[in-house]
Symmetry: C2
Subunit: 169 residues, 2 copies
């Protein structure tokens, strides 16, 4: 059986490759392994051994990416944080924008190379492939949602939302 801290560090390495900073990535690990009690900034700071300024930046980064939700329980003096309900859906859809970006890049290339046949064929292939992916990948996500909703019969995606720490407005 592995250690939780080990997992947090692994998560730090993995999520870093998604474009997050190291601390933000480690925060993702903490929130994934969260065992129920609320996560707040001072707690995360002590747990990860980082300055609260870095934590502030990291949490903002995560919040703006839609990966983490910030909420303040009534009468509480500090913010609390949890994973967004559709973190992974969000992550995939962010990745997806890459597809359209590459299709657009190919388009730019096409208008740059003029009418040279082999170059055009290459870039058209690239454009068509990424366009195909941008068109088909969302369907895959939908199929996942359906499969998950139908399979469990339970509530819609986002089971973690109905945890013991629900104090959102």
């Amino acid at each position: 059986m592995a250690d939780v801290e080990e997992f947090v560090e692994s998560a730090g390495l993995h999520f870093e490759r998604l474009g997050l900073s190291r601390t933000a990535a480690r925060v993702m690990g903490c929130l994934l392994a969260e065992t129920g009690e609320a996560a707040d900034a001072p707690g995360l700071c002590e747990r990860l051994g980082v300055a609260k300024s870095s934590m502030s930046v990291a949490l903002h980064q995560l919040e703006r990416g839609g990966l983490v939700e910030r909420y303040r329980p009534p009468r509480a003096r500090r913010d609390h944080y949890r994973l967004a309900e559709d973190v992974f859906g969000r992550a995939f859809r962010t990745k997806m924008t890459e597809f359209t970006a590459f299709a657009a890049l190919a388009e730019q290339g096409l208008s740059a190379v003029g009418d040279h046949p082999t170059a055009r064929a290459r870039l058209e292939h690239m454009r068509d492939m990424y366009a195909f992916m941008a068109r088909e990948f969302p369907k895959l996500l939908d199929r996942w949602d359906e499969e998950r909703a139908g399979g469990t019969g339970g509530p819609a995606p986002g089971s973690a939302a109905s945890g013991p720490l629900d104090g959102r407005p």
Copy 2:
């Protein structure tokens, strides 16, 4: 109509986010916009204004990633480079390994959190979703190959291979 050099720089930015170094990414741009004549290391160095040492490292990086093929035309004194036939398929499949890596990460988390219900549910969701993607995405690639092969009726994917500079052993 955009400029070719602009396109190369755009490609540099885009491919950099795939984990390549900046120079390697710009080389990708050059090879994508290649107008037929062979690309060799000295030529790329001058075109991009980088040292040949950097070029050597970048080309190795691309070659080991399977994105670029190196070949030496008979009686030639320098190596030549071109995009691999299935560059984008290769790129997608590389990306795909990320899916299984994240599924494994979730597994690690599961063995770390023990039996806490909400944490387990979260991590099982993560594991199942990435496993689903790792299972279904290859099918998407296959569908693309079929669609492309059936649509054109032409040769199998990799039309750029039969260009005017075919001197591979």
